[in-house]
């Protein structure tokens, strides 16, 4: 029974990783950059809900909506101010280093506002969950909501990309920026939209993550962010189903690692998985090969 319970917890944690990984993978596919600050947008989203709900005492639903709005705007602003000027920089390191800078900026601004002490986050899911197998298997409400949210997001995003004009524009830009521009696609707008969607998803991920693990600090987003990137790489960066598969796989590996090997080593195991994947199949499970043009 504990095996199934671990598995479900793993899928739930993996669903959060998957939602975060979607943001990474979309941005990577379109802007060809690793948005290091993505994990910290999660933290901003969680703090927004915390402030609105716990500090200001407003309804949870309002908190979630405002949080999503804040993160969306934040994502677009970050792109415009910090990344866009470097889009054509000579060195590929430039935008990566800047993204690290933005990540640190967000963490430290949060540190100044909220302090380093962990805040206890009130779960946004009040449902206590279901009991199965005569109460031996207990699945919490947050776990179920997280998995459902992930599925809904996944379907919505796939429909958006395949059925809408904006979604098709995204595909075109990720394929060839120059050609997309020539075809009359607003490249800057499309990139901004991608950051907006990615950041909105980060806000949702932040709320779900903190509902399941209620301790909130300025560094809350950092490690899940990096792990979600690992998930995106694992699934094949640039691929939306890949982010989903990678995220869930990673969540399961982490929970099993914690349960059956060593709780202190869980992070090391996750990272070891990344290294092995990159060595065996550098493009990830669903990634495609890109050859450099000579």
């Amino acid at each position: 029974m504990s095996f199934i319970s671990y598995l479900i917890n793993g899928i739930s944690l993996g669903s959060v990783y998957a939602i975060i990984a979607l943001g990474y993978t979309m941005v990577y596919g379109i802007a060809k950059m690793l948005n290091f600050a993505h994990g910290d947008v999660i933290m901003v989203g969680a703090f927004a809900v915390f402030t609105i709900v716990s500090t200001l005492g407003m309804p949870i639903r309002l908190g979630i909506i405002v949080s999503i709005l804040i993160c969306t705007v934040l994502g677009v602003v970050i792109e415009r101010v910090a990344y866009k000027p470097l889009r054509n920089a000579a060195s590929p390191l430039a935008v990566l280093i800047t993204a690290i800078g933005v990540s640190y900026l967000l963490q430290n601004v949060a540190l100044l506002i909220f302090g380093a002490n962990a805040k206890s986050f009130t779960s946004v899911v009040s449902w206590s969950g279901i009991k199965l197998a005569d109460g031996q298997l207990n699945i919490s409400g947050v776990t179920i909501v997280t998995i459902l949210a992930c599925i809904v997001i996944m379907i919505a995003l796939t429909l958006f990309i395949n059925k809408t004009k904006a979604g098709q524009a995204m595909l075109a830009v990720s394929e060839d920026k120059g050609a997309a521009q020539l075809m009359g696609i607003n490249v800057n707008g499309t990139i901004a939209l991608t950051f907006a969607i990615g950041s909105a998803l980060a806000a949702i991920a932040g709320v779900l993550l903190c509902s399941a693990y209620p301790s909130l600090t300025p560094y809350t987003g950092s490690m899940p962010g990096i792990k979600a990137f690992v998930a995106a790489v694992l699934g094949g960066i640039g691929s939306i189903p890949g982010a989903m598969i990678g995220g869930i796989l990673l969540g399961v590996i982490e929970i099993f690692g914690k349960a059956y090997i060593s709780s202190q080593m869980a992070d090391a195991i996750v990272f070891a998985v990344l290294i092995v994947v990159l060595l065996v199949k550098p493009t990830g499970i669903l990634g495609k090969n890109i050859q450099e043009k000579v």
Binding site: Y28, M33, L34, A82, P85, L86, N88, A89, A90, S91, P92, L93, A94, V95, L96, I97, T98, I100, G101, V102, S103, Y104, L105, Q107, N108, V109, L111, L112, S222, I226, F229, V230, V233, S262, Q264, M265, D267, A268, F271, A272, L274, I275, L278, L279, P282, E292, V294
Partner: protein, 356 residues
Amino acid sequence: MKMKELNKTTKSNLITYALVIITYIIVQIILESGHMSSLMEGLLVPLCTYVILAVSLNLTVGILGELSLGHAGFMCVGAFSSAFFSKCTAELLPSGLRFFLAILIGAAVAALFGMLVGIPVLRLKGDYLAIVTLAFGEIIKNLVNVLYIGIDENGMHFSTKDSISLGLQPGGKTIINGAQGISGTPNDSTFTIGIILVLITLFIVLNLVHSRDGRAIMAIRDNRIAAESVGINITKYKLMAFTISAALAGVAGVLYAHNLSTLTALPKNFGYNMSITILVFVVLGGIGNIRGSVIAAVVLTLLPELLRELNDYRMLIYAIVLIAMMLFNSSPKAIAFREKYSLKKLFAKKSAKEGK
């Protein structure tokens, strides 16, 4: 023409060495006259550590052109391996020889790890390399925290659970005690040794850069495909730069470990944060600019300490510095703007646009 250029690099290198030596002399004078606060005195060895870290990371980031986010991991390896050695041999060897050997061991073990990590990792590019080095750094930190090593009359015992499972005989002692790390490492690090190590680091890096191997490394940075086309062995030179960089980070770790009574692997000293702090030094000093790394490491370490009220804002300032520097230095628009309005350019003849 050539002589002039040679003199220019030699001169530039000599200025760097002179800067370090003059700083050392000034500090010694202040120390002798008793005007140095204990706070500042305590910062002297860490400063040397940071300078070595920054210079060695610049070899990877600036000269090789790859972003490593696991530099603190190599420092960690150097620190723990050397502290382990020093603690084991504390009563056996005279302190001078012991520290000398500790430095060699720290460098060698870090170099070995650099090579082990480098062989698979250097095949990857840019973002992937950054994330894998980060992962590596975290793995090292994690492993050290669950590592227990003890010695008794039967030899060495290892465990990854706790010190009791080492099963030591009475009289045996635990050397590495998991998350509690190593305590009682002899405090062999001094400012003078630190400065000597800084000078050696500079000597190695600067001379490497201006040699046949250094040219090959920079050629790979500037254009990998062209470098391959003229017969440069990409793997060999990438690995060389990465390994030397790791070895020097290991040396910094030795200096760091022998300046503390208790050595533990925390996120603060050997984690991702530390790797980023070193990266900030490199970026502020100028990517590829070795002297810049030295100055930036000193200034960015001293400034928050001197302006106490700024200490809370330290990482925030680092973050802003990082973003501003990159935007100012690498944005094509900013570069065009600077070129348009730079005095040098106004007098020099206009050079044609570079080929794409």
